[in-house]
Symmetry: C2
Subunit: 352 residues, 2 copies
């Protein structure tokens, strides 16, 4: 875990594995690393899209090539393989095992956010030892020593939390962008990573979804406290969603752990329900009220903006939808990638 | 973990460690094991109460002696030491290490629900190996393979969940008693243990608070599904409390994992806030509404009864308080230990 100290910066150029699922949402770790550190990316591996450029697939990322396998990837001169996709449950698909072993044999270090700990996988760790390559298991948490103390209920400084109407709605991206924009405007703000991609980019943080239930709030509290020692505003990356049947607990552990003063609701307008669960996303007004009530059980909080993710809409539709949500919620609405996060940042500044 | 198959039944007679904190709430594992399996208990260790009987301290449990240390405990002829107290955060206090090593040297097997895994503690596991004794780390979960599927949203059979206005309000006891009473009345009901004490008593289950956040709902879903294969009603032991700054995530993971059709709210009337956190317990009506809303995000559910824990009130006060809560909530109210759980069981039967 010592590798976290420099994040992906310590790993040179990256081949990103997104086999079978390269896309903005389907391989969100890949997409975020490409968005925020394109100069580090040598190629993306997805045999189903080989020959395309990253720009063709994502709409950004330029001429970085998509290649069919490790052999082609090695020709692009990477130093490490980054697993850029989060399979359901975090297990290691059998077909990836071969790819990883091939990468290791080719001399690549490995960065993995899987729940399956590669350093504890006998075959893979033996291969890594033999090849002299490093493995960074991003998701393995430090062992916590205490449960949450509730100390952030009396903090100085402000905490902003991104929450979602579902998983994969842009919570990491929005937190990252808002913290960066606040910094550009002279506010001492720090992004607080709670998931694998954020940790890779920022070089610190903990994958809270991997932490035992009793300690999720404690770990979030410790990360947020650390950020507030360096900055006036901590912008915490939320995880999961309160309405998600599998991941709601992680969303709540982070919420009650960081005691947000304000929340930003992330939402993809084209999504009406949670894929695979037949759970409808409630009207945003109801969802906002629910978040404020549930957060308020521990610390008063309000939703101050809605961040829409309109990557799959054309410009006119996106604008119409943003206006509709602004009208119905009375809150500023933006797509931070499409229109920037000025409107959100101004509301945050009003809190200070 | 193979020891879970028989729970404490596989361990003969027990010396229960409750050093410095033996009491109904302060050592709730000790108190529950004594309540439900007194014939297995040789003695309780608490040097601050040595010389008393268990009945003197708890108000039940008869003449089981409280002794000062391992030497006196060994004179009572136990086969195992059960750690009957859950220190904050689950770590192993230094002063207990000596007690454990002494017990192991004395030939006692050890049953522990600490987060600190004794089998992975070098000094303790070496001592256990040398003495030829077994260690059962009750809290170590099986590694889950998948996240929650939401399958219980379409179950046959009914799921009842105990929830609390705080930790240590009687959620395990109420679930255990209700399942047992349903069984006596001819309803096929199964208690679903989600914490260390329930696992010790029932011989199966998982300590959900120890499970990584992403998998808490999955583990609860699997346990509940297993119970419904054997019974028509699963009575799930809740953990933590939705309003608790450190443990709310565990409460929610269980709630969304088991998809309860009905909930029983457990509450200690003399407690007005969460000790150590300066969080007030809201009026019960508000708390009930909040639980129904939050559970309803995934599956419709309602609170059908309030189980008060009146162990620290005299009979008249307890009756007055129960009547007041019944009046204000419109729900049946009982203390399952003091007055039995007939009123709750009848409401559950109405659901079938």
């Amino acid at each position: 875990m010592g590798d976290a100290a420099h994040g992906i910066d310590g790993f040179g150029r990256l081949a990103i594995l997104a086999e079978g699922d390269f896309g903005v949402l389907t391989s969100k770790t890949a997409a975020c690393v490409i968005r925020y550190a394109p100069e580090r990316v040598a190629c993306v591996i997805d045999s189903t899209k080989a020959g395309a450029s990253v720009e063709d697939v994502l709409g950004f990322g330029g001429r970085i090539p998509v290649v069919a396998g490790i052999e082609e990837a090695l020709a692009c001169g990477p130093d490490a393989l980054l697993i850029g996709i989060a399979p359901r449950g975090g297990a290691l698909p059998d077909e990836w095992r071969e790819i990883l072993l091939e990468a290791i044999a080719g001399g690549l270090n490995v960065i993995s956010g899987l729940h399956h700990v590669l350093a504890e996988d006998e075959e893979i760790s033996r291969a890594a030892g033999a090849a002299g390559v490093r493995i960074w298991d991003v998701r393995v948490p430090k062992v916590p020593r205490a449960v949450a103390s509730g100390s952030l209920r009396r903090k100085t400084g402000k905490v902003i939390l991104t929450v979602g109407s579902d998983c994969r709605t842009g919570k990491m991206t929005v937190a990252f962008e808002v913290a960066r924009d606040l910094g550009r405007r002279g506010v001492a703000a720090e992004f607080v990573p709670t998931g694998q991609t954020g940790i890779m980019l920022a070089g610190w943080g903990e994958a809270v979804d991997r932490v035992p239930g009793d300690f999720m709030s404690a770990v979030t509290e410790a990360l947020t406290t650390e950020a507030l020692e360096r900055a006036d505003v901590a912008v915490v990356e939320g995880q999961g969603a309160l309405i998600h049947p599998a991941y709601s607990a992680v969303a709540l552990g982070i919420m009650h752990g960081c005691c947000p003063d304000a929340m930003i609701l992330c939402h993809q307008p084209t999504r009406t329900g949670i894929p695979g669960y037949d759970v409808a996303i409630p009207p945003l007004g109801d969802l906002i009220e629910m978040h404020e009530k549930v957060a308020g059980l521990v610390h008063p909080s309000r939703v101050i903006a809605v961040a829409v993710n309109t990557f799959d809409m054309d410009g006119d539709d996106a604008e119409r939808e943003a206006a509709r949500i602004e009208e119905s919620t009375g809150l500023p609405v933006t797509d931070v990638i499409r229109w920037g996060c000025g409107r959100i940042v101004r509301v945050v500044e009003d809190l200070l």
